[in-house]
Amino acid sequence: MSMNNQGRPSAIPAGAASFDGVTGTVTGNRGLQIEEPLIFEQDSAGRTGVDLPDVPKVASRLGAVKPRARVGLPGLAEPQVVRHYTRLSQKNYAIDSGFYPLGSCTMKHNPRLNEKMARLPGFSDVHPLQPVSTVQGALELMDQLAHWLKTLTGMAAVTLAPAAGAHGEMCGIMAIRAAHEAKGDSGRTKILVPESAHGTNPATAAACGYSVDAIPATADGRVDLDALKAKLGPDVAGLMLTNPNTCGLFERDIIEIAEAVHAAGGYFYCDGANFNAIVGRVRPADLGIDVMHINLHKTFSTPHGGGGPGSGPVVFAESLAPYIPVPYVTHGKDGFALVENAGEGPAFGRMKAFHGQMGMFVRALSYMLSHGADGLWQASGDAVLNANYVMARLEDVLTASFEGPCMHECLFDDRFLKGTGVTTLDMAKALIDEGFHPMTMYFPLVVHGALLIEPTETESKASLDQFVDALRALAERAKSGDVAYFQAAPRLTPRRRLDETAAARKPVLRWTPPVAAEALAAE
């Protein structure tokens, strides 16, 4: 079998696809696991899945540009397309079908009410450049969402523009830079980032032209306050800290950290990816944070659809409130108005086209209204209780990295696997056969072979118990020396372990028509 067949189907010789001693089927299918070729391999030339009106007979007016001859797309009727995507969907794990304990990623229930609201034509079918007199409801919704975000964080201002969390980080660091520039303070070239930070934090700081200086963690999984203080000085523009941090712990010294950063003339950026642990219970402004992004798709349940879209509004304390990007909603004399262009003031340019991820705003507000202040209090409490429960039920078989209580996620490392020959990755793959999406592995980097588990508030005690029982049994099995079992996992999935090294060594990133592919292979 060649490693690389240019997007063409692998030949599956009858009987070759063996599975636990069971011979393969003629079709390559396994019961309900259907092999689905690429859409390009199902072409019937000339076929289409839409009915369109005839094209009016007019002379074309394309100027100097020639009409193209061909795109190269396949043609399929509607039922073929429906079946293709339905079959593909069945090869996916999702929060609707099972427990998804990805730490640091927050996979909670995605209520369908939110989807219904986002599809109201008054929201989904409005153009971003309609006259503002015709979109007053959309602007009012953005204003309400802004009110919720400011109230929940205690902050003075918010921009809804950023398209995702990392985009929000970029916005926050730009605001910090703009504020230093406005003061004529050009000597601040450095951003401090703890070792346990999300990779986007150092990437963002570096992209904005700062050098990144890492702060080590203490033995109890927090920022080393003394090390931090030693690094603070007139060259530090700010600190980027995640709180609760990526070890699942609350930074106990956070108020002292904020004071130290401020005393040194820097700003305090908080990565708000873990805000769901404290939402409705702790206001970030009360901790001394100057600026923080909020992932609507994590804290406020907007679905992340296989990796996006996201939405990353950023809240600003008084200190940075003037330095926000356009556009934003204001109260004008005839209702709501939109400020779409940066004027003379300190507000800086633009982060994306139009006004932000409106579809996500509708979903987030729908979720906020459904929970209310009382529900959010309960939700963050349940998220933390669930994580502590998982930790308590596992700590005698796995090795907890730090002493609790944890916040909304709990962290283990691979010491419990020492000498077994089984790796964290093997454990994760064995969990898949048990019907669970694995937890986050090998992150945060501050512990070896990390397993970071985040249950969220929408899991029942019964689902947690089932997961814990499975993980306990696997841990016992690993300790019993059954290495082969783990190394062969997963066995029951549409695909077994995939060769990621081969994929990276000679990347095949698209389908190529068979003739072209053969020519390529012959080169």
Binding site: V50, V65, G306, S370, L385, L498, L509, W511
Partner: protein, 447 residues
């Protein structure tokens, strides 16, 4: 609290298991001064499903949906008919509620979709390879410039006056904070700018748009060759992806990078987002490309499968040395794009593009026949610019009172400039009656 499964009895037994006296006790690491004693003030308590529907429904009712009136708005966001099948499939929970495919064995659905999406984008743009989507067209454009800076090790970008001003602004915002030079030419409503004269040995790229923001279609073949001769890359931006069904694609003109907005396929207007950024490059730049990539490989049984690949460029491996800080993509919007393109197929996309163009030709002729209106375009796809005898913003406001969304005043995009210019977009959703109503209403307003 219908979203919370724990019962009071569950909570009590779980608290015993964790040896805590109360949930509040688990928050004991939070400094006391910052701990709220109960639910936060200033916000309402929870609502039932019916109440939420009523409240959000009342807000939605204050907007005029574009589809409820004759609508001719474009300028980077286009109202096309999306087949019912697209939204139905997108809402399958296995797509909607999945996360980034970090575990490929249980994410082959998402991964195969991304592989097919990459192929569709490469075919449409005429480029070698595409990534698995960016946030939107504007951020895709800014990332393209940053990529050109990396590839050429130069730090000056030339932005055409035909580039959508939002795209220009996103790029110049990045230029200010990230530290490169972006030379933006003045708006060119009738075209005619000598981009090549500005290219020097510090120029990393020239950014042009096709059709440009005023609707002009252009052939950039000569510009591509000239840029190449000077060691600069040509970035072609496309805001109306459907145009790729009819026009010579940027790849055939010699573009190095294509940055586009894919909203036109499968994605509703949504008041500006979420949309889907397209990003395609020549083969030799693959490892400099930002964003996610899905690649083909084989599994332990030798069967074809897909994984996220080349992640060594990315923030979660390279951290401060990463190619870009981008982490999220537009997975679900890319899925909608992909399904719509699959439904259209070769025959459908060609016909849909021809239909859009033909209707736009009809509309342009109707408007040009209105006294005082002048058409500025010789060549266009489905959008064009007209010059009015009055400020366009006031005209559009008057038209809105007559329940016609009659285009985008150019001054909305360029405040204080070109106040008599109006951008008009026409798609397959506009009926003959819509077009006649628009022309008649414009005659009245201008009379």
């Amino acid at each position: 609290m219908r979203y919370l499964p724990l019962t009071e009895a569950d909570r009590q037994s779980m608290l015993e298991a964790v040896r805590a006296t109360s949930v509040e006790d688990l928050f004991r690491d939070v400094p006391k001064a910052a701990r709220l004693a109960g639910p936060i003030g200033g916000l309402p308590n929870h609502m039932g499903e019916l109440e939420v529907e009523r409240l959000l429904g009342s807000l939605a009712a204050k907007n005029i949906p574009a589809g409820s009136v004759p609508s001719f708005l474009g300028a980077g966001a286009y109202r096309h008919h999306v087949p019912a099948t697209v939204d139905h499939l997108v809402q399958r929970g296995e797509f909607l509620t999945a996360y980034t495919p970090y575990q490929p064995e249980v994410s082959q659905g998402t991964l195969q979709v991304l592989f097919e999406f990459q192929t569709q984008v490469a075919l449409l743009t005429g480029m070698d390879v595409a990534n698995a989507s960016m946030y939107d067209g504007a951020t895709s454009c800014a990332e393209a410039v940053m990529m050109a800076n990396r590839v050429t090790r130069r730090k000056k970008a030339i932005l055409s006056g035909g580039l959508h001003p939002h795209y220009r602004d996103v790029t110049t915002t990045d230029a200010r904070f990230i530290g490169f030079e972006a030379v933006a030419l003045p708006a060119a409503p009738t075209g005619g700018e000598d981009l090549l004269a500005l290219v020097d040995d510090k120029t990393s790229c020239v950014v042009v748009q096709n059709p440009d923001v005023f609707g002009h279609v252009r052939d950039y073949t000569d510009l591509a060759a000239a840029c190449q001769a000077k060691g600069a890359l040509l970035i072609v931006v496309v805001t109306e992806a459907l145009s790729l069904g009819l026009l010579t694609p940027p790849g055939d003109m010699g573009a190095d990078i294509v940055a586009a907005e894919g909203q036109s396929f499968g994605n509703a207007l949504n008041f500006g987002g979420p949309y889907v950024g397209l990003f395609a490059v020549k083969d030799k730049y693959v490892r400099q490309m930002p964003g996610r990539l899905c690649g083909e490989t084989v599994d332990a049984d030798g069967r074809r499968g897909f994984v996220l690949t080349l992640s060594t460029r990315e923030q979660h491996i390279r951290r401060e040395k990463a190619t870009s800080n981008i982490c999220t993509n537009s997975g679900l919007c890319a899925l909608a794009f992909s399904i719509h393109v699959s439904l259209l197929g070769e025959a459908g996309i060609t016909q849909l593009a021809q239909l859009n163009h033909a209707k736009a030709v009809q509309m342009a002729d109707k408007l040009a026949a209105v006294p005082g209106v002048e058409l500025l375009n010789d060549g266009f796809f489905n959008e064009f610019t007209v010059k009015l005898p009055k400020p366009a913003a006031a005209v559009v406001e008057e038209l809105a009172k007559r329940r016609i969304l009659g285009g985008v005043p150019v001054s909305r995009l360029y405040p204080g400039e070109m106040e008599d210019l109006l951008l008009v977009a026409v798609t397959e959703t506009n009926t003959d009656a819509d077009m006649d109503a628009f022309a008649a209403a414009l005659s009245e307003v201008l009379a």
